[in-house]
């Protein structure tokens, strides 16, 4: 019997053949952490270890609350900056030209390598599976233990194969697909599982679109997501990869706990309604709902193609007077490219507010939180009750195209009916 990607990737790190449900102790290639590095460093100090196991293993990116929103956040950032200096951690991306959202910066800086093993103290660490890495979210205590010892225990997950075929209708994208899938299988539909996305539609997808799928694999409970790395990935990594890499592919006769097929040919734009990501409806069921705030950005949909999709819809149009639109480019690289291509100018002229790359109000910390009774339409990945501010606000999730088209009308709109 052949092996799945997860079995091969973890087996390679463990130095032995492993199968689903085995427990392995391995040394990851990288351990990612963000603003919670302050808490991790406090735990690290309690372990009474002088130096981090390998100063090149941690990758620390400030994104959750940058610039610091309160004195407490500022103090946390200060703790991190001092820790990074003291421990000689060179993979540190603070608030500057090299920064942005962790899940965008880490691939841009060449850490998300095919066949690599990355853990991160953030639940959307699954994103790097779009590059063929085994990447999974962990907690902060274990992140501190990895800093100290270099090791982590992992259970080899079972695997689910999702095969996607067909050509996307105009105005429908990877975000609609992943929302549709989560709506079908549920918020725990892939719990503890490694999810392998494959099929002709995935092969044709841009890297940015693939990242939408692996990012939101977390929202179906997955341990990790995976897409077979191909020429697109290898090209992207040229001049970026921080070290050599060896792709890992699942065997053709690998055994899966479940195999699911989806055809996107007739897929409608999808929206996840409050307060769970699997509460998914086609736009036709929600058209016309008024809302207060639009958000385009985040680790899910803040990449160049997302800003392009939004700017094409908003070109020479105006955002509705009752709606405010926040744009969060996923990184400064994305931001600069969006400027060079004129997307930023278009978005500003249409009435959008351009924010600094970062997580913004996605997790309710700052930069545009919601008041009681307000409704947001957002390209982010979670619509949990109160996540973006008041527990009495509502979050709906959609694609950048749906959000942009809706921002013009001031109500949920089917982008396929958009005049441009």
């Amino acid at each position: 019997m052949g092996k799945t990607f997860a079995e091969k990737a973890l087996g390679k790190k463990a130095g032995k053949e492993v199968s689903r449900n085995d427990i392995v102790t391995i040394i990851p290639d990288f351990v990612m952490s963000h603003d919670n590095s302050a808490a991790i460093s406090i735990i690290f100090k309690k372990l009474e270890v002088e130096k981090v196991y390998d100063p090149d293993m941690p990758v620390i990116i400030l994104d959750h609350t940058v610039p610091a929103a309160t004195v407490k956040y500022a103090e946390n950032h200060k703790i991190i900056r001092e820790f990074v200096k003291k421990q000689k951690i060179k993979n540190f991306y603070g608030m500057n030209r090299n920064g942005g959202i962790c899940h965008q910066v880490l691939p841009e800086k060449g850490f998300a390598l095919p066949g690599s093993l990355i853990v991160g103290s953030d639940s959307h660490t699954t994103t790097y599976g779009a590059f063929g890495a085994f990447s999974a979210g962990i907690g902060r205590s274990e992140a501190a233990v990895i800093w100290a010892t270099g090791k982590i225990w992992l259970k080899v997950p079972e695997s689910i194969k999702i095969i996607v075929t067909g050509k996307f209708p105009k105005g429908v994208s990877a975000k609609d697909l992943i929302l549709y899938i989560i709506g079908k299988i549920g918020a725990d539909g892939a719990i503890y599982n490694s999810v392998e996305f494959s099929g002709g539609t995935i092969k044709k997808m841009s890297i940015a679109s693939r990242m939408v799928l692996t990012n939101m694999a977390a929202e179906m409970g997955a341990k990790n997501g995976y897409i077979a790395p191909d020429k697109k990935i290898f090209e992207f990594l040229k001049g970026r990869a921080v070290r050599e890499y060896e792709p890992i592919y699942p065997d053709k006769d690998a055994e899966y706990a479940n195999e699911l097929e989806f055809d996107v040919s007739n897929l409608e734009p999808q929206i996840a309604s409050p307060h769970t990501v699997d509460n998914v409806h086609p736009i036709s069921e929600l058209e016309g709902k008024p809302f207060n705030q639009a958000l385009i950005g985040s680790c899910t949909n803040g990449r160049l193609e997302d800003l392009k999709a939004a700017s094409e819809i908003l070109r020479d149009k105006k955002v509705h007077k009752d709606v405010r639109v926040l744009i969060f480019p996923a990184s400064y690289e994305v931001y600069l490219n969006a400027m060079a291509n004129g997307y930023i100018k278009t978005l500003i002229e249409a009435g959008c507010v351009i924010m600094n790359p970062g997580c913004g109000p996605c997790l309710g910390a700052h930069e545009g939180v919601l008041a009681k009774g307000e409704v947001a339409l957002s390209t982010t990945n979670r619509n949990f009750k109160g996540r973006m501010g008041s527990p009495e606000s509502e979050i709906y999730l959609a694609s950048p195209a749906t959000v942009a088209a809706s921002a013009i009308e001031g109500k949920f709109t089917d982008v396929r009916k958009n005049r441009c």
């Binding site: 902060r140 233990v145 100290a148 725990d188 009750k385």
Partner: protein
């Protein structure tokens, strides 16, 4: 040495229609507005305060209580406060039909007992367990006794790695 048999009175997390709640996410357990709190002693009072019908949980829970809930408990963020807040209240264990993947790791690594019991909804609906019943769980074998109702059943026992870390106290001590 940690006790391998735990005992406590239960709270079943049910909604207003008496159904056991699934998919309780980390924002309902420990809302993001409290994330700046780093002292575990301060965390308890915010436990479940964003879960409809349960925002008074921290006032009614007693040390040693056991929480019973549905599928995918602790889905969402990697925040460890969502485990620590229960420790802060001296909750003895959480029993669920399944747990969010990172929540499970956080609980295991901090030596906090969590158990998987796939038949929770059946047991609740048939009245075999009820709020404030006293139960006893053998973590090693998974056997459970409802002392109040004198009923015995089986849940999934601790895994080896879970027991190893639990016995050591937490992940730091097991290293």
């Amino acid at each position: 040495m940690q006790n391998k048999i735990i005992k406590g009175k239960i709270w079943i997390l049910r909604d207003s229609s008496e159904k056991v709640i699934d998919d309780i996410d980390t924002d309902q357990i420990f809302h993001n507005r409290y994330l700046a709190i780093t002292d575990i002693n301060e965390m308890g009072k915010y436990t479940l305060d964003n879960l409809e019908g349960w925002n008074d949980f921290s006032q009614k829970v007693e040390p040693g209580d056991i929480v019973i809930t549905g599928r995918n408990f602790g889905s969402g963020s990697s925040r460890q406060q969502a485990v620590d807040c229960f420790k802060s209240l001296k909750v003895n264990a959480i029993v669920a039909e399944s747990f969010g993947a990172i929540y499970k790791r956080n609980a295991i690594n901090s030596g906090f007992p969590i158990l998987i019991w796939k038949e929770i909804k059946e047991m609740v609906e048939s009245g075999k367990i009820n709020d404030r019943d006293e139960i006893e769980i053998n973590l090693e074998t998974g056997s459970m006794k409802n002392i109040t109702k004198d009923i015995a059943c089986e849940m999934e026992p601790f895994s080896n790695v879970q027991m190893e870390i639990y016995e050591a106290g937490n992940i730091f001590k097991s290293e």
